[in-house]
């Protein structure tokens, strides 16, 4: 088979395995230099750079792990291919369809799914809903990692990523994309500062660091600005969450009237608030399972209640706008766009509203979690894909479906986000201690 003979395949495998190995070894080396070797492996029979061999509970788990690592290696390899042979070599993108899965899913959906950071921060620090305070750190971490992934996806998708700083210098106040760029850059910085105290507290636990560096005073100093940072987070998020919708206002002749509206920015913002709440429910439920923590059910159920209110406003606004634009007849046609519209509105908005509003259902963790997942997958990710993909197909013709390599790269980036979240949750004080809840 030519594929096996291809040096590209072996390059992919080598890099896919090699890069994680170097990273793990490097992190361990740094940790030992900073903190000294743990006593358990201080005996000379252990090499400090020896790789950790994970112990698997079952062979099934080991196989699953191997497949996952293999997929991630492949994803990294494809990213390398993209920089060697061009975007066209790994994607199905074309001049007729220049934005695909990496923009529609990784960037547009990624930014929306990271909205939990500003929503929870605003609730706790600006609206005085203090009981949600235990949720702020995981929400900020999710948002911070989400934005880092968005930037990573941009670096892969941009043709000339080394020019990514240009918008910061060449101000273009008529360009929506310029404003998105400025806000994403600024807000990622804000999220970094918001998360810095957690990282500093984590560093404080390492005695060698705590002895040498004044980490806690710095953390305390940053915390003084929490309210200012929360205001900044809300303002910057309002701007770019909505502007991701404004991007499509520029193409009135291309986007189906089911989605095209001058109020796209408003819809993108409202749905971002809803999915911020839903993502917090999803992320808290998943991490409570993964880390065997208790579930803050009463808090999460309340988030579901608020999400229902936001979704009702969103639903009414969407339909009022559709009717006012005279696009009503499109709602009853038999075509792909109408089907995807109802899939988005029905499963992603109407069903979650019902599940969130009925109190006994809301307090069942499985129902609460499913409703939140529906909002995430159908209400927002499908909405962003409808706007950036399905809704454009009547104009462009059926010219685009993501290649397996695009899908694998997206999967790889999301996986790295999940791994980073797991590592951060394990080594940093992200979740409040059991006693304090």
């Amino acid at each position: 088979m030519s594929l096996i003979a291809s040096p590209v395949l072996w390059l992919m495998i080598a890099l896919g395995v090699g890069i994680p190995l170097v990273l793990i070894a490097g992190v361990r080396y740094l940790a030992y230099r900073l903190a000294g070797r743990p006593d358990s492996i201080a005996s000379p029979s252990f090499d400090p750079l020896e790789l950790p061999l994970p112990r698997f509970a079952s062979s099934w788990q080991a196989v699953r792990m191997l497949v996952w690592v293999g997929l991630l290696g492949g994803g990294v390899g494809i990213i390398v291919l993209r920089f060697v042979y061009g975007i066209g070599a790994v994607t199905n993108l074309s001049d007729q369809f220049p934005w695909g899965l990496w923009i529609g899913f990784d960037v547009m959906s990624g930014v929306a799914l990271a909205a939990g950071g500003f929503v929870i921060c605003a609730a706790v620090h600006l609206f005085g809903l203090k009981r949600f305070a235990p949720l702020t750190r995981p929400a900020v971490l999710t948002a911070f990692l989400g934005y880092l992934l968005v930037i990573a996806a941009l670096v892969v998708d941009l043709g000339r990523p080394y020019n990514i700083w240009r918008p910061l210098v060449h101000w273009q106040h008529h360009s929506v994309l310029w404003e998105v760029g400025i806000c994403v850059a600024t807000y990622t910085t804000v999220l970094f500062i918001e998360f810095l105290p957690v990282m500093l507290e984590g560093a404080h636990r390492v005695q060698a660091v705590a002895r040498r560096l004044p980490v806690m005073p710095v953390a305390r100093m940053i915390r003084k600005f929490t309210v200012v940072l929360a205001v900044l987070a809300v303002v910057l998020s309002t701007l770019h969450q909505s502007s991701l919708g404004s991007l499509w206002v520029l193409v009135p002749e291309k986007l189906s009237p089911l989605w095209y509206s001058l109020y796209l920015p408003v819809f993108f913002f409202i749905s971002a608030v809803a999915v911020g709440l839903a993502m917090t429910i999803v992320e808290s439920t998943l991490s409570s399972r993964a880390f065997k923590r208790g579930l803050e059910l009463d808090l999460l159920a309340d988030l579901g209640k608020y999400a229902a209110v936001v979704l009702v406003i969103y639903l009414l606004a969407r339909f009022a706008d559709l009717i006012a634009r005279g696009a009503g007849p499109l709602l009853v046609q038999a075509n792909l766009q109408t089907a995807f519209f109802w899939l988005e509105i029905g499963l992603g908005v109407v069903v979650p509203i019902i599940l969130f509003s009925i109190r006994p259902l809301r307090y069942r963790p499985a129902v609460l979690f499913s409703a939140a997942v529906l909002v995430v997958v159908f209400g927002v990710v499908l909405n962003r894909l409808n706007v950036s993909w399905i809704g454009l197909l009547p104009y462009t013709g059926p010219v685009y479906f993501p290649s397996w390599m695009e899908i694998l790269v997206s999967f790889t980036l999301v996986s790295f986000g999940v791994i980073a979240f797991g590592l951060a949750a394990k080594y940093l004080p992200v979740f409040p201690a059991e006693a304090e809840r």
């Binding site: 750190r137 998708d157 043709g159 060449h170 008529h174 994309l177 507290e201 309210v227 205001v231």
Partner: protein, 304 residues
Amino acid sequence: MSRTDIPVSRREFLKRMGTGAVGLVALQWVSMAQPALAADDPPPEEAWGILIDLTRCVGCNSCALACKASNGLPAPDVAPSALSADVYTFVEAHTVTTADGTAGTRYVKRQCMHCVNASCVSACPAAAMYKSPQGPVVYRPERCLGCRYCEVACPFGVPRFEWDNGLTPTINKCWMCFDRLQQGEQPACVSACPTGAMRFGKRSELLAQAHAQIASNPHRYVDHVFGEHEVGGTSVLYLSDVPFEELGFPTGLPETAPPEETEKIMNQLPTVIGGMTALMTGAAIFTHRKSNRSLEPIQAEKEE
């Protein structure tokens, strides 16, 4: 290509940014909000344009070959059949029913329309796409991020990206031979046309000529100059004797330039910034007063 054509207004804007106050930034933004054409540019009617009379085109491809030669594009003796990263213009053949009921062939030269208020220019986050005061929409690769929003935005599907270039892909499209214009010459395609189907001149004059031509030959021409009003006007204009929709021209284009809508939204941003800042600060002050605390942050956890 001239690199000194940054609008003065923005330079001043950046200079005043130095004073730093957030409110001042917002105020400046309001006063700076303007269409993609900078204030010191001449009005669009003074800019150059090209009038293409489709009734005179015989499909000889001289223009497309001259374009390749003038821009140093590969395969200069092969007549192209579609726009690509190596083809800025080509001639498209359409079989149509003419006014007298017989079947005939019409040739349509395609290239960048050089919109007066261009979507690609409005879209570009780094001013790599630039509407020159002289009329051409030119591309400056050294600023380009390769985001391809210009391709998404273009109502005519013109820009072409180098999909097989890993590290230095560029956007490629007709630039109305901006280099030749600056030396006082006409675009290569116009100079090469043997039948006089293309005319180069000030856009306003070309429009007047086009309407005069329609008025003196009402039976020959469709009473429509394509590009006069489409997407707010284009610098390339077409005259035809068969309806434009039969020649593959896009229909249903808005008469207002799409950037006008996004610029309206962008002009709301200072209000959004100010309103949200006031609302959120107000909420913070209110809730902290209610809970009888100073503006110190509510903490998730006690410090160690």
